[in-house]
């Protein structure tokens, strides 16, 4: 981990200022560039209206909501088991992680706790969806700065993790596996051996990405000092996850507030990077993927035996009350605020999804950068559109 020199950072800022000065002197005319809603670089339908002066961005206006599906409202007319099917589709790349905070919130209201084996398996699948999610980011980041091959590597190796998730839950993308009071089913025979093999493979993939993307001088030139988020500004915009850890804030809900998850039973580390630039965010995510594979390995080592479901009535009626549970999802902190009036259905569900907050910093962050850097910075912020629009 090496910090960028101030010289590099300053030279970029100086170039920005010089260009801005030239634009003023020449009295150049601005141009509005519409990036999205359909554009190869925005995974989904995020629209970015960029006011350009030459290749320099004067102002940026992210427009979201093109894919709004109204899950908060839909959840009000779905029973608790049905809601998990909906919220699977929020962050569709690591979807098991979406279910967990909601289920935990419901469990807190019902005052049940999942048996240890269920918690263990839940944590394993949670970390696995993190790997499935961030693997994609690692390849996609390469693609966004112009290298095609890492994306293929990402899809190639992510497949193994998805196969594991499918072998347990039955669904590759939408597991719908978490239940109030436990999980739906136990692990199938032979799964643990297979998982260990795949985790080794994923560490190899991380090495490959490190050699192919992270170590590449061109990649570093493109990402170092680009899109620097100071820690205080990042926090005030509500950034979370690797985006804020890339700015040097040592904050991970998995370690600091582990409700119903057993990460702290293992020996693991929260990675941070002091720079706060695009490279730092990439670096932190790469280390986190490695760390996740290690967490899974350790959890498999001491997987307790026992039941997987607590005693829960067949028809779930959640007692009246309010609960807010947040977890460290692949994209950042995701929380569910569940209000129940003692009905079959929740009275209100507020979803705090990470990407919505992460993307809200763009107008501040993209001011003054060049057009190619818009894409680099957006890619490094890493959002899944379903997570923004819900």
């Amino acid at each position: 981990m090496t910090s960028i020199s101030d010289r590099e950072k300053l030279s970029y800022i100086a170039a920005q200022a010089a260009d801005a000065r030239v634009n003023v002197e020449l009295e150049t005319e601005g141009m509005t560039l519409n990036i999205g809603p359909q554009h190869p670089a925005t995974h989904g339908t995020l629209r970015i209206i960029a006011k350009l002066d030459g290749e320099q961005v004067v102002a940026v206006d992210p427009v979201m909501g093109y894919m709004h599906r109204g899950y908060e409202k839909l959840a009000e007319v779905r029973t608790y088991p049905q809601v998990t099917t909906l919220i699977n589709r929020i962050d569709w790349v690591g979807s098991f992680a979406n279910e967990v905070p909601f289920i935990l919130a419901a469990e807190r209201l019902m005052e049940v706790e999942a048996p240890p084996r269920a918690q263990w398996i839940r944590t394993i699948l949670f970390e696995m969806s993190r790997i499935a999610n961030i693997t994609l980011f690692l390849g996609d980041m390469g693609l966004q700065v112009g290298a095609v091959t890492p994306a293929f590597f990402a899809f190639r190796d992510r497949e193994h993790v998805l196969n594991l998730i499918e072998a347990v839950t039955g669904g590759r993308f939408h597991p719908n596996f978490d239940r109030i009071g436990g999980i739906k089913d136990d692990l199938p025979a032979g799964w643990i051996t297979e998982t260990r093999r795949v985790m080794k493979k994923m560490r190899q993939y991380c090495d490959e990405i490190e050699a192919l993307v992270e170590g590449n001088e061109i990649f570093q030139a493109r990402t170092r000092g680009i899109g620097v988020i100071p820690a205080d500004i990042g926090l005030s915009y509500g950034l979370s996850g690797a985006n804020i850890r890339g700015s040097g804030v040592d904050w991970d809900v998995r370690r600091d507030n582990p409700c119903g998850m057993v990460h702290n039973e293992t020996d693991w580390k929260v990675w941070t990077h002091p720079d706060g630039d695009s490279f730092a965010r990439f670096w932190v995510r790469l280390q986190e993927t490695r760390e996740s594979t290690r967490i899974i390995d350790q959890l498999l080592d001491n997987l307790p035996s026992g039941p997987i479901m607590a005693k829960v009535p067949r028809i779930i009626k959640v007692p009246a009350g309010e609960a807010y549970v947040e977890t460290e999802n692949p994209l950042g902190v995701m929380g569910y605020y569940v209000i129940s009036k003692g009905d079959l259905v929740p009275y209100r569900v507020k979803i705090r999804s990470a990407s919505f907050n992460n993307i809200s910093i763009t107008p501040w962050l993209l001011k003054g950068v060049y057009v190619p850097d818009i894409i680099t910075i957006l890619a490094s912020l890493y959002f899944i559109l379903g997570d923004i629009d819900r």
Partner: protein, 179 residues
């Protein structure tokens, strides 16, 4: 620009992957065989077998169904249509009273709406619904995705036996009823 080796290492990764794909057997048998070396599968010619639990299509074991409507009610997007009637069945023991049983007239699942969440299979108290990992049932016309009870019953043949659990599990392995 910094040092050059990062670029060379990158070339090494892609070049190495290329060689591994072309020569999957390594130096022992340097015969180009990319079909084996590639991670992809040539789909219509060779097929991957999904895991036993894969949620491909829902199969109906008609004898077990009592038209209790639980699945239809619990379905998040209400894509199950059931109609049934009561009918008399011969008594279990000789000389007993004729039993009343529920018979289904209609059991349709609209796979164009289905989200493959598996709640119907979960809630069925009589083990009438099963997941089959079969995935090739796409249709040119969307209306044909509405599978009626005879079509759903056909899928029963493709339902695999439930697999054993990992050590330390207390769950009981369920049985698939013979068709």
């Amino acid at each position: 620009m910094g040092l050059v080796p990062g670029l060379i290492k990158g070339l090494g990764v892609t070049g190495g992957t290329m060689l591994r794909t072309i020569f999957p057997d390594g130096l022992k048998k340097p015969i180009p065989n990319p079909v084996k070396g590639a991670e992809t599968v040539q789909y219509p010619h060779e097929k991957e077998s999904p895991p036993t639990r894969a949620r491909g299509v829902i199969a109906l074991h008609e004898e077990n169904c009592t038209a209790c409507m639980l699945c239809a009610r619990e379905c998040p997007d209400w894509c199950i249509y059931i109609e049934g009637h009561k009918e008399k069945a011969p008594p279990r023991r000789a000389g007993g009273k004729p039993r009343k049983v529920n018979a289904i007239d209609r059991f349709d699942i609209d796979f164009a709406l289905c989200m493959f969440c598996g709640i119907c299979v979960d809630v069925c108290p009589f083990d009438a619904l099963f997941w089959s990992p079969e995935y090739e049932f796409s249709e040119p016309r969307i209306a044909d995705l509405l599978h009626d009870k005879s079509r759903l019953a056909e899928w029963m043949e493709t339902v695999p036996a439930f697999e054993a659990y990992e050590a330390g599990s207390e769950a009981k392995v369920k049985q698939v009823p013979p068709t």
